[in-house]
């Protein structure tokens, strides 16, 4: 067999189990011919001329010329392979690719690490005060002011979300404006009724003048109310105070009379002189009665009942009246 025939039928000599009768002759030729022997070894895959980098470069260039990079196809299966849920064939294909593709190898490693990292992010504990703040905001341990503020805020939030809120707000503002400045058709205060209104500045000046009038009227009214109520009340209080002083004085004098007469009365009784004891008691009683008769505010005296003594202090100052009574007490 010659080299041309050997090369032409090379595919027949690759399979060692092929039952071709000329196979023996072909193998003898390959054993004797270095070139054909090397060719047969390459065809059988028993030799490889490409180094790892050269193989990678060749593979890429072939893929670029045909289907493009296989990385996108590998990425679609990468997650399942990392999770261990991929089929055996897919896992094998991914493994082949990862052997030579550093980028996908890095991606697979990152995916594997992220699995644990992400599960660690499931819970992040907030600061220790968080639970207390949540409980305050929910189970009602809030202060009254915060509850009111929260309720007011919630109410206001509901109001402004109502569709009619804008219309109602505009109406309220327009009404307020009209009350403050008045519509143009109303008569002004200075020019009188039936006449045209003035500018907003004039309306403000009229408003200020009206307020001044009103405040002076309020002041006069307040003063009149004071004269009608507070002054009589103060005078009445003073009279009550004077009455109390007077009553206590008369009671004190009564007690002194009783003390003063108790001794003589007891002595007369001891001596057996009942007539003297009776005289003493009569004198003490008369003395006490005299003091109470001279008290114009003594209990039992009606308003319309005239006092037993002329009350020269009527219509005078209460302090003067008190002094007059004191002078009468001091007289024998």
């Amino acid at each position: 067999m010659d080299c041309r025939t050997f090369e032409r039928e090379l595919d027949r000599w690759v399979d060692p189990d092929a039952g071709d009768p000329r196979r023996e002759a072909a193998l003898r030729h390959a054993a004797g011919c270095p070139r054909c022997g090397e060719l047969l070894a390459f065809a059988r895959g028993e030799r490889d001329l490409l180094g790892p980098d050269e193989a990678e470069t060749l593979t890429r260039s072939i893929l670029e010329a045909t289907t493009g990079s296989a990385c996108p196809a590998i990425e679609e299966r990468l997650c399942d392979v990392v999770d261990g849920s991929a089929g055996a064939e897919d896992a094998a294909l991914v493994a082949i690719h990862l052997r030579d593709c550093a980028a996908c190898r890095g991606l697979a490693a990152t995916l594997a690490a992220l699995g644990e990292d992400l599960s660690g992010l499931q819970e992040i504990e907030p600061d220790p005060r968080f639970v207390g703040d949540v409980l305050d905001a929910t189970t009602g341990r809030r202060s009254v002011s915060r509850r009111i503020a929260a309720a007011a805020s919630a109410w206001w939030g509901r109001q402004i979300r109502r569709p009619r809120f804008a219309v109602e707000a505009a109406y309220a503002l327009a009404t307020l404006f009209a009350l403050l400045f008045g519509p143009p058709s109303l008569p002004s205060l200075e020019t009188g009724p039936g006449e045209a209104g003035t500018s907003p500045i004039g309306s403000i000046e009229r408003l200020i003048a009206v307020r001044e009038i009103e405040s002076s009227a309020v002041g006069s009214t307040a003063e009149a109310v004071w004269e009608a109520t507070a002054v009589p009340a103060a005078r009445g209080a003073q009279r009550v105070s004077s009455w109390g002083i007077e009553q206590s004085r008369t009671v004190g004098e009564t007690i002194e009379v009783v003390r003063g007469s108790a001794g003589p009365i007891a002595g007369a009784v001891w001596r057996g002189d009942l007539f003297a004891a009776w005289n003493e008691m009569e004198a003490a009683g008369e003395s006490i009665a005299e003091r109470w008769r001279s008290n114009p505010d003594r209990p039992g005296v009606g308003r319309d009942e005239k006092p037993t003594e002329p009350r020269s202090d009527r219509g005078r100052n209460d302090d003067d009246a008190i002094e007059d009574r004191s002078q009468r007490r001091r007289q024998p």
Binding site: D80, G115, P126, V134, T138
Partner: protein
């Protein structure tokens, strides 16, 4: 001490048991705060939002008709509150000079300070990467990968088909992995 089942806690809460309510708050505060933080990315805002979520839960305890599915229901409630808050935040102009992605210390377990620092840094990196995702990818990651909801529960929450959830989940994970890798590279160069 045997932990009371969530179903029992819920029943007691509906009867006005304040101790049960406190226990429920403590059980889920970490999860709710974590969800809020994933959405708003700011610890103070997340705290306020988490509190708002619990107030909503308190007002709507009777709305959860099936206690067996309380956790997905709660997460849906939280998600709706987070979305509402984000809409309001977007309507509010941010004050100048305040960084949107400002990170504060997130509490991390680990007795070793070096471990704690490493875990905290890792969490911050992941949160930064999450905020760079699209809104739907971030939600998918949050519901599926972080909170562990099933595909059916996520489909019900987001109102999308289950097949879409599955495909979007893988896509979102790849997207997140790429963002984490991209963010990690400058830090590796800086020796962080």
């Amino acid at each position: 001490m045997r932990m009371m089942e969530t179903k029992t806690l819920l029943e007691r809460c509906r009867r006005g048991d304040e101790a049960a309510w406190e226990a429920l708050v403590r059980r889920f505060q970490g999860r709710i705060y974590g969800i809020a933080y994933c959405y708003v990315g700011n610890p103070e805002e997340a705290r306020d939002l988490a509190q708002d979520i619990f107030v909503r839960l308190y007002d709507r305890l009777d709305a959860c008709t099936n206690d067996e599915t309380f956790v997905p229901w709660l997460i849906r409630l939280a998600r709706n509150a987070c979305i509402d808050r984000i809409r309001r935040m977007r309507a509010r102009p941010r004050p100048a000079g305040v960084p949107v992605d400002e990170m504060f210390d997130l509490p991390a377990p680990g007795p070793d300070p070096e471990d704690q620092r490493r875990i905290t840094a890792r969490r911050e990196l992941i949160h930064r990467a999450l905020r760079r995702l699209s809104a739907i990818s971030r939600e998918i990651i949050l519901l599926r990968e972080i909170q562990g909801l099933s595909l059916e529960e996520i489909a019900g929450t987001l109102e999308i088909p289950i097949g879409t959830v599955k495909s979007r989940t893988n896509r979102a994970r790849i997207e997140l992995a790429r963002e984490v890798t991209a963010l990690a590279r400058p830090e590796e160069k800086e020796g962080v």
